[in-house]
């Protein structure tokens, strides 16, 4: 078992959006934790609730219509869901920082890079002198591998390329030595060669600074390459959780299996891709039973009536599927699943 202590613990998180059609749970009873210095991946398709999960941690769920209905987000023995706006502001950007998908829109076009970097320090490090702040900004720009750091601080976002802007975002997020860095699709808008550079940088910084990273992505390749542990989400729920090697070599949940099968692998040609039938359900549209039952080829009667819980199948491996329920009448249909 991993010795490192848990730094962020999400317990039974339920975040809903209240619309004209009633409550739509985007994140439904989600549990996971991140250990110090760990890279945890959350993977899933659009609408599975992975971004809402990260926004919930940051206290950035747009309200109304969104609201954290129940659950706890424990960070250093504090429940983030219970904090006031003011207390949350102190943690956000300081202890927990976030980088977003769109490096084009996450920087203010009217201010210089330096201005935007210094702002975070002015807010969180009130006792620092001007020089200290400037030095720190330059130091971070260098750390993320940006050339001519001093000069760049006086430039505007439009003068930088997409990859450089994402580096600036990372520098900004790391200014205050956060304990947790949330990266929501940090490389989706970038080209592959730039993506490789950014992922390498994130991994490198994680090792050097011992910052825990929560990497949210839809790309299984990115997960395989950067994460230690993986949480797979589907329709607002965690369907499988385990170490990256287990998830990729011995996936249990039919959805995880289907997802892995449907990715075209650059290394070899498959005659035909496996494809999961049907569509990703709209949040809140499935009320009873397992959310994946309608698309699952192993679904049986119980799946359509009862919602499975997250079964512990190994010390660090959990799966939300009745096929792995120890009490299920046809236990361990693993041979059937694998054939």
């Amino acid at each position: 078992m991993d010795e490192r202590k848990t730094i962020l613990d999400v317990k039974g998180l339920r975040t809903s959006f209240f619309t004209d059609d009633g409550e739509v749970p985007a994140v439904d009873n989600v549990d996971f934790h991140i250990r110090q210095g760990e890279v945890l991946g959350i993977v899933g398709e659009s609408g599975c609730g992975k971004s809402v999960t990260s926004l919930s941690i940051m206290g950035l769920v747009p309200s109304p219509p969104g609201k954290i209905v129940s659950g706890e987000i424990l960070f250093q023995d504090k429940d983030l869901t219970k904090l006031s706006d003011k207390e949350m502001r102190q943690i956000r950007g300081d202890d927990i920082a976030m980088i977003f998908q769109e490096p084009m829109t996450s920087l203010n076009p009217l201010f210089t890079i330096g201005n935007q970097l210094r702002e975070a320090l002015k807010i969180h490090k009130k006792d620092w002198s001007k020089n200290q702040i400037q030095e720190r900004a330059v130091e971070m720009m260098k750390l993320v591998g940006l050339p001519r750091a001093e000069a760049l601080l006086n430039e505007y976002p439009h003068q930088l390329s997409g990859g450089m802007r994402q580096r600036v975002m990372i520098a900004m997020a790391l200014l205050c030595d956060p304990k947790v860095l949330i990266a929501d699709e940090p490389t989706t808008a970038l080209d592959v060669t730039i993506q490789a550079q950014i992922l390498k940088l994130i991994k490198n910084l994680n090792e050097r600074l011992d910052t825990a990273v929560l990497l949210i992505t839809h790309d299984l390749g990115v997960v395989a390459e950067t994460c230690e542990r993986v949480v797979v989400m589907y329709a607002g729920k965690v369907v499988e959780e385990g170490p990256v090697h287990t998830i990729f070599n011995d996936p249990q949940h039919p959805y995880t299996r289907g997802l892995l099968e449907s990715v075209p692998d650059m290394r070899f040609k498959k005659e035909r891709l496996y494809s999961i039938p049907g569509n990703v359900p709209k949040p809140g549209s499935i009320k009873t039973g397992c959310k994946y039952a309608a698309r699952c080829e192993f679904a049986f009667d119980r799946c359509r009536v009862e919602d499975p819980e997250l079964y512990q199948t190994a010390e660090d491996h959990k799966t939300r599927c009745f096929l792995f329920d120890p009490k299920e009448a046809k236990p361990n249909d693993r041979t059937v699943v694998e054939s």
């Binding site: 993506q195 790309d219 390749g221 395989a224 289907g258 449907s262 075209p264 650059m266």
Partner: protein
């Protein structure tokens, strides 16, 4: 050997940069700069490259949605680049396009029936009754149902919309389909469905595809031959197997090694390239890749490498392979 279905020779597209008070032309963005290739009937040619490499501009020029600055496109024995606008419209019956964004490429105010009937109206195919029958037939072919005809685009998911986009392209029984990033807006599980559909249609309807994408895994899966573009040039073009197993151009090597592989045990051979793609308005001299190339030689910044065959069916534009070529 039979004539290829589509032949492209020396295709160029320069966009003028205007500025100043009088809007004078200050420079040119060389979006596509002298590329040549061919596509055989029934095959899929994949075109990959990073953003700004000119792959979409190339696709649009083949359809003459953009007029090339220079160069010749010959399709089925007919030179498209010299056709008048009205003759070109007729020629488009045989060349159709599938676009990237299934949300933006369908008119939200039109029913699916109207959207799919449009190409038939334009090309004057069949009578109204027959057109309607055809709409229903093609909806079934792409995996939707005929009752969907009365619905509107917003009632469909992304994957279903892309099926409608494909159905629209098929309505005129084209020979060639140019698909510009047809699956990049879709989720992985839906992407697999659409790729399988495209392969089935190719087999059943004897289609030829030009498949433009940035995802190297997807391109390998669907293509028979693949061309790699960089800054408006074709860097390498070869059979899919030899391109992926034995890439010659340093850019192709770097591109392939940068793709994240869905296997945590995979150990890659790293060819790291530094920096960003230079601006196409001011491309580097000589080989356009020399600013990022790990194998740069003196000649690279001075002379533009020839794009020529190194092995049968494997062309590359790189000075490293100059001596392997028949002079």
């Amino acid at each position: 050997m039979t004539e290829p279905l589509l032949k492209v020779e020396g295709l160029k597209k320069y966009f003028p940069i205007t500025g100043g008070m009088l809007g004078r032309v200050k420079g040119q963005v060389k979006a596509v700069d002298d590329i040549s290739f061919y596509v055989n009937e029934g095959e899929t040619l994949g075109i990959v490259g990073e953003s700004g490499c000119g792959k979409s501009t190339t696709g649009r020029m083949l359809m003459r949605l953009l007029d090339p600055t220079e160069g010749k496109v010959t399709f089925d024995g007919q030179e498209l680049t010299s056709l008048s606008a009205s003759d070109m419209r007729k020629a488009r019956r045989d060349i159709q396009m599938v676009f990237q964004d299934p949300y933006a490429s369908l008119n939200p105010r039109h029913s699916i029936e109207k959207i799919l009937m449009e190409p038939l109206n334009v090309h004057n195919i069949g009578d109204p009754k027959e057109r309607k029958r055809k709409v229903h037939e093609f909806l079934e072919i792409v995996g939707l149902s005929s009752y969907h005809a009365k619905r509107y685009p917003h009632q469909f998911s992304g994957g279903q919309r892309q099926r409608i986009g494909i159905a629209r392209a098929l309505m005129t029984n084209p020979k060639l389909i140019i698909a510009d990033e047809p699956v990049s807006a879709l989720d992985v599980s839906i992407q697999a469905q659409v790729l399988n559909l495209m392969q089935d249609l190719q087999r059943d309807l004897k289609l030829t595809y030009i498949f433009i994408a940035h995802d190297l895994g997807v391109v390998r899966h669907i293509s028979d031959r693949v061309g790699v573009m960089y800054l408006g040039n074709m860097a390498e073009l070869a059979d899919t197997e030899s391109l992926y197993e034995k890439p010659l151009h340093p850019y192709t090597q770097a591109l392939l090694s940068a793709v994240p592989v869905p296997d945590p045990d995979f150990v890659r051979e790293e060819v790291v390239i530094k920096g960003d793609v230079p601006s196409p308005a001011n491309p580097p001299s000589g080989c356009r890749f020399h600013t990022r190339c790990p194998f740069k030689m003196d000649i690279c910044s001075q002379e533009i490498p020839r794009f020529a065959e190194v092995e049968p069916g494997h062309s590359v534009a790189c000075h490293l392979y100059e001596e392997c070529r028949p002079q």
